[in-house]
Symmetry: D2
Amino acid sequence: MQKRPSAGASPARITSAAFKALLRDHLPMMADWGVKVETIGHGTATLSVPAGRRFLRPGDTVSGPVMMGLADVALYAALLGAIGPVPLAVTSNLTINFLRKPGAGGIRAEAAILRLGRRLATGEVRLYGKSSDLLAAHVISSYAIPNEISGA
Amino acid sequence: MQKRPSAGASPARITSAAFKALLRDHLPMMADWGVKVETIGHGTATLSVPAGRRFLRPGDTVSGPVMMGLADVALYAALLGAIGPVPLAVTSNLTINFLRKPGAGGIRAEAAILRLGRRLATGEVRLYGKSSDLLAAHVISSYAIPNEISGA
Amino acid sequence: MQKRPSAGASPARITSAAFKALLRDHLPMMADWGVKVETIGHGTATLSVPAGRRFLRPGDTVSGPVMMGLADVALYAALLGAIGPVPLAVTSNLTINFLRKPGAGGIRAEAAILRLGRRLATGEVRLYGKSSDLLAAHVISSYAIPNEISGA
Amino acid sequence: MQKRPSAGASPARITSAAFKALLRDHLPMMADWGVKVETIGHGTATLSVPAGRRFLRPGDTVSGPVMMGLADVALYAALLGAIGPVPLAVTSNLTINFLRKPGAGGIRAEAAILRLGRRLATGEVRLYGKSSDLLAAHVISSYAIPNEISGA
């Protein structure tokens, strides 16, 4: 039932290695969290964070901020997979619905662009506890694409 | 024009010291970020994060995940200010709109509960760059309140 | 990649005919719009509105309020498909992202519950211009389920 | 605590009469609902809908779609109050949180732009049951401003 965009139809415009370098050089918190880039496609990406005591909140489950941060960077990866290395693309808005406590393990984020406009890209991210099929959280979010690039 | 709840009408049901201890013991990431509790009232709270290179993103401005995390914990403080120490209250959903880049300095979050139900509390958070009056981001978010407590 | 709930696994707990009667008797605006119930399953539903000049906005395209209203009632149908006739279930929150102008024709809404809790159900709705595969809008929304029923 | 934009600092760039004409000619559903334009300022607006049986839902309270539609058109009025008659400005996203059932009477929407960019404007709307001070719902929403105008 899901109509996904051109995911898979075109090659990614950024490599996983280039995106990892961007994290290391320009998103130090994500690098510090140990965010792992599983795959990047044209408008899609799967990223994960490992388990870690520092990520937990009362109830012994991964905290909301970790899930929001992972979702945000996963959609950034999916977007750069579609438009290439445009680091100044910035989140315009993000809505997260927490559905099930993921527990204390790692988290996997599957991101996909739903619509890529010249100035705004909107996508969704589905978050899962590692090795779980049950949605832990759902994210919908838009990125603003800077003019100089989107007009190119 | 803003109708805020009973902010100020009743004393806070958690002290700043008790909330700081909760951060230290149960939200290690927030403690690690150096989140500072400025004030907690009955359904209101002001918290801040200091400036830090690790918080930045491309464009030399505080990253979205830091603002989302700070907003989430600020609303948690406002909620516990209204219902007392209920650490198992959990975020149900959160919507953030990023309005202006806050720059590289610290961030201040002003949170207020808009409606406190037995099972769900909804509030908003306004985020500002330190010593700025211009909104950097607006957050609306709901917390689920566990049964055993809310029924008490 | 989409993990949908038990859609299809169980029979719907409300029939299309019963839901149509509910619209006619208790949601007069939806009945007046000519909302059509295509299918209701256990936690899923497809509803549509016909084309109509009264539904348009500047740009000769269906207006946002029509898409929001249709999405809201479609998720209500999906929810009642899962929990049975509980008319007092009420929308708690709704986020819509408009992705592509659907034009002046009818609109189809495909709703699915992502998580059904005792007190809160969250689902998403995808809106399409009639006979289009391209997403016109994406909705994520939660319904509060009244106590007397959910505790039953 | 609320930092509102230049509300009041500048005169409105559309008159109430011109906005009413726009409703009548181009938003027939809003005109049919009897939406009343109370005031429009530069980035602010107050609009209302009268009571009406057709607006109700189970529980004898105004339905969500009516509140979403009123909020959407109220923010449109606030935006045109700031940028002038740009009918092709379109809603990009909208998040509503329903806080208290407003009952069966009329609804008042108070809208204010929080940030007016060249391409995107974001604002909030507070919805009240007529003659009530208690928030019935809170809306945050963004409008996309078409290029030709915003670049003028």
